[in-house]
Symmetry: C2
Subunit: 563 residues, 2 copies
């Protein structure tokens, strides 16, 4: 009898909202036969202030050889994508070669966004566009995509059937009963999966702290209409540029109220261009105008859809707020709608932008004064309860949330009558074995944080970041000594500082520092000098001195030039 | 006939929630005769990641001489304090000498906290403790303190009468009809002020975005009881350590439910000690124990009140979460209540702490999953409407909020039937003249941001911060050249980097850099070398090189040692 086992390993997306990547390994009598991967996204570093741009999943585990000395990567049968958000798709171009260019599958808009990403990196291979109501066989994996709703069109859940057990991969979703564009979730398909039987339900958990059902996206469209009707000048809307349904709703209202539409910002222009290509903005093309045409129309005939809802410094909206866009000047009568919540950590930037726009004379509507202008894409507690009832699995893994969301998800599951230990709160690299109706934790895999910084992948490591943090809070002092072979100073010690003190005001401090250095270099009888000892002593003495005088600990570096 | 004019200048607290300081100048026939100041607090810098601790008001305007060549500071008759929060009192020790140690006035707890601050800085002068229902005469200013409610006991508003007009200084408040400790606001006194007549109402505006009345502090006490009853292990509560009423409520519940109380964290210990001194924790002393005694009691007999609700790394609660407190270990059954909202910008730290505590096995209750465990100290829209109706002034200045709160306050005023232009949205340094029922803007005063960094006041300026920001995102490269008088290299160029690349992995890059430097130093016929030109050229070439290869712009410094 064949013994089948399925191993599930999240390489991101657990105890972390972003950087989603999930590995499914199928073993036949202890031999790894097939790998299936779901999603491969980027993460957003906390070290924003340290100049790191993004994080990608650490796939070094997949580069390991298995028992038969075979490469795991060659067993990857496909990578499936649940939807087109950055934290689910944008890791792939960085990892495509290392993963040996596997076959990629995604729904219509997802495939389109992925293809653009791959093209940007010079790849020509096309993503396979999936069909619904269709079983895909990837070796021993049988897979079916199910359409659900989220804040981007064409979002899917994935039902994965294996000889070892079945998994419902319930990535980011909400149950929107009145989606403004596209069909509602296919509840029949979802409940049918429940009928077939599911060992493990993975479920979005980001909304697990919020009561009730999530607001329908349609409500936002109604708010747009109400707000646009009372706007005397330009109507300006900002949101995430991947939220095609919301953008479409804004355009529909503009059409109804006789305003022309212009898109501003690179991501907004690119995404709406892509959406247009596949007909997602059909019937609305006639009112679209170019940025340069804005001033041909009176303000009350204009609606702008602008990137930069998170207050990013370089975004189109921030440029407008600074008066840097020659085509768009903010004046009294203009109304600006922030149709998005600030992502935690971005509050300062967002509200700075709001206030800059208020200062320019616009009326600004933002989430803390109006709750109908943005709808979350993630299911609240009641959405999650519906999914659990539909699927009725044996075991649960909350994904797409941090530990506190996972814990709240566990409470919900318990409330519905399941035992608490049917919920596994996984961390990145944890592994879970599924075997004959059993589920148990396996060995934990080590993962590292892989930073992408400007052009470099992984070349900014923890040491560099630790230095940057220190430089950022305390500054740096470089001491340069030119010594002859007897360790006598050939010229005055040179001391250069940055980010520590304003040197022009601190001549005395620098003089004192030089004295301390000279003192250490005074010839001593007892002991011969050693370069490293000198360095150490200078660093210690100066650190002590600066901390005593200034209460700060700059990074002190000593460079000795021997001549 | 004497012509009186009153000039009002906010040196902080407008378009900024913190660093409150307000100057009132009284002029008699164009001659400045008296100055009164209300509050002198600190601000909290956005540049947290750049190692700046706090900001204090810029009082250089007061150091100006007036027309008669007299020092303004000598005309300061008193500084009055509205309540004991850091952003209203903690600037004074830094400025006390420069202000020539003026007389200070505040309510009971305010005076106590202020005295501690002054003692910490070595001052012996005592703050005058005010009485209510009493007129104070400071030269031509007649002043009356009125008790209101806020998130710290003994909070006051101040009614200022002058020959030029009357001002109601309505700093931070809410109208709590059921304060758990101390009297409710003195509505009779407030409405009497309205009857006397007010030219200008200054009003807290921080809550101007929120509907309804602010929750009473008493509701929080009820939640404490509900939560404590269902806690099997230790009950741990964290909040702002100045919130004596909330701390008292927690102790009262602990007394009722037979738990001992210990305070953890420096600020929590100090503030509760002070509150005890003046009897604000009377009747509760018997259940207080020391930190070292915690383990003599079973967990279910323990309630800890702990500093660190904002997730500060060095706080008592963060130490507990890391297992660094030998007296307090978190175990299953413990419950931790965050009785405070994260201050915008602190979300990441707060939620990291929440999750660390969940990981340790505790149940953690925090604002986003429970709305009855914290009550704001600031009045919502309806509180503000009541104040406006009570006072019924001619003009308004919203304070204690940023521009968007000021703007919302203006909407509220308009809703109540006042003209929009009766509200002045002031920025720091704006001046407002009050004269015979007229109000008009005066000349704007220049103010600077004065940073306090470790021991130093004002010695970290914008240049240092700009360098730190650059160092933080890009790192630094120091190039050291030892040259003879003919600009020939006496030894290989030395290149040191920090926060840019990990040098061990980048030998090639460093070799290339040295080549570039050597190339520049090659003898040229046409032109004599100039030190500054060499430096400039090396910096330009290297910056260009690094940006091309790495996409980054580190700070490049060239130091030339001539021998």
């Amino acid at each position: 009898m064949i013994n089948w086992r399925l191993k599930f390993i999240p390489l991101g997306g657990v105890t972390d909202v972003t950087k989603n990547m999930y590995v499914y390994e199928l073993y036949q009598n202890d031999e790894l036969v097939d790998i299936l991967i779901v999603d491969c996204g980027i993460g957003f570093p906390r070290e924003k202030s340290l100049g790191v741009d993004l994080i990608i999943p650490d796939i070094s585990y997949l580069a390991e050889k298995d028992k038969a000395k075979e490469d795991k990567i060659s067993k990857i049968r496909a990578i499936l994508f649940t939807h087109g958000h950055e934290d689910h798709i944008s890791g792939i171009p960085y990892l495509y070669d290392r993963l040996k260019q596997p076959d990629l599958y995604g729904s219509r808009l997802t495939a389109l966004f992925l293809n653009k990403k791959l093209e940007d990196f010079g790849y020509r291979k096309k993503v396979n566009e999936i069909r619904y109501l269709t079983d895909y066989q990837f070796s021993n994996f049988k897979v079916r995509f199910i359409n659900v709703t989220h804040s981007i069109p064409d979002t899917t859940h994935i039902f994965i059937q294996t000889p070892a057990g079945n998994v419902y991969h319930g990535a980011d979703f909400k149950f929107d009963l009145t989606p403004p564009y596209g069909p509602p979730p296919n509840f029949y398909e979802i409940t049918k999966v429940g009928k077939i039987g599911v060992n493990l339900l993975l479920s979005d958990s980001l909304g697990a702290e919020r009561e009730g059902l999530t607001l329908s996206e349609s409500v936002v469209g109604e708010s747009f209409e109400r707000e646009m009707r009372t706007t005397k000048g330009k109507f300006i809307m900002t949101t995430f540029s991947s939220n095609i349904s919301r953008i479409r709703q804004c355009i529909e209202v503009a059409q109804k109220l006789n305003r022309k539409i212009a898109f501003l910002g690179r991501s907004m222009k690119e995404n709406t261009k892509a959406a247009k290509e596949i007909g997602y903005l059909s019937g609305l093309e006639s009112i679209l105008i170019k940025e340069e045409q804005i001033n041909r129309y009176p303000p009350k005939k204009i609606c702008l859809i602008v990137a930069g809802s998170q207050g990013q410094f370089d975004s189109a909206l921030a440029k407008i707020s600074r008066g840097d866009n020659p085509n768009v000047k903010i004046t009294k009568g203009d109304k600006i709608i922030f149709s998005s919540d600030p992502i935690p950590g971005n509050e300062t930037e967002v509200y700075d932008l709001v206030e800059e726009l208020i200062k320019k004379g616009a009326e600004v509507i933002y989430p803390s004064i109006s709750d109908q202008l943005h709808a979350s894409g993630h299911g609240n507690i009641d959405d999650l309860k519906f999914l659990i009832r539909f699927i009725n699995p044996k075991y649960f893994v909350p994904i797409g949330g941090t530990l506190r969301h996972q814990r709240q998800f566990q409470r919900i599951v318990k409330e519905l009558g399941y035992p608490e230990n049917s919920v596994f709160l996984l961390e990145e690299g944890d592994s879970l074995w599924i075997e004959k109706n059993r589920l148990y934790l396996g060995r934990k895999i080590e993962t590292k944080t892989i930073y992408v910084d400007a052009y470099g992948v992984g070349d900014v490591g923890n040491i560099v970041l630790r230095d940057r943090k220190n430089l950022a809070t305390e500054g740096i002092v470089v001491v340069i000594l030119t010594l002859d072979n007897n360790f006598r100073l050939l010229s005055q010690p040179r001391i250069v500082t940055r980010g520590f003190i304003y040197e022009k005001n601190e001549e005395e401090l620098l003089k004192q520092s030089k004295k301390i250095v000279a003192q250490i270099l005074k010839p001593k009888k007892e002991k011969a000098f050693k370069l490293n000892n000198i360095k150490r002593e200078i660093i210690n003495k100066l650190e002590e001195f600066y901390f005593r005088i200034k209460g700060r600990k700059p990074l002190v570096i000593v460079e000795i030039i021997n001549i």
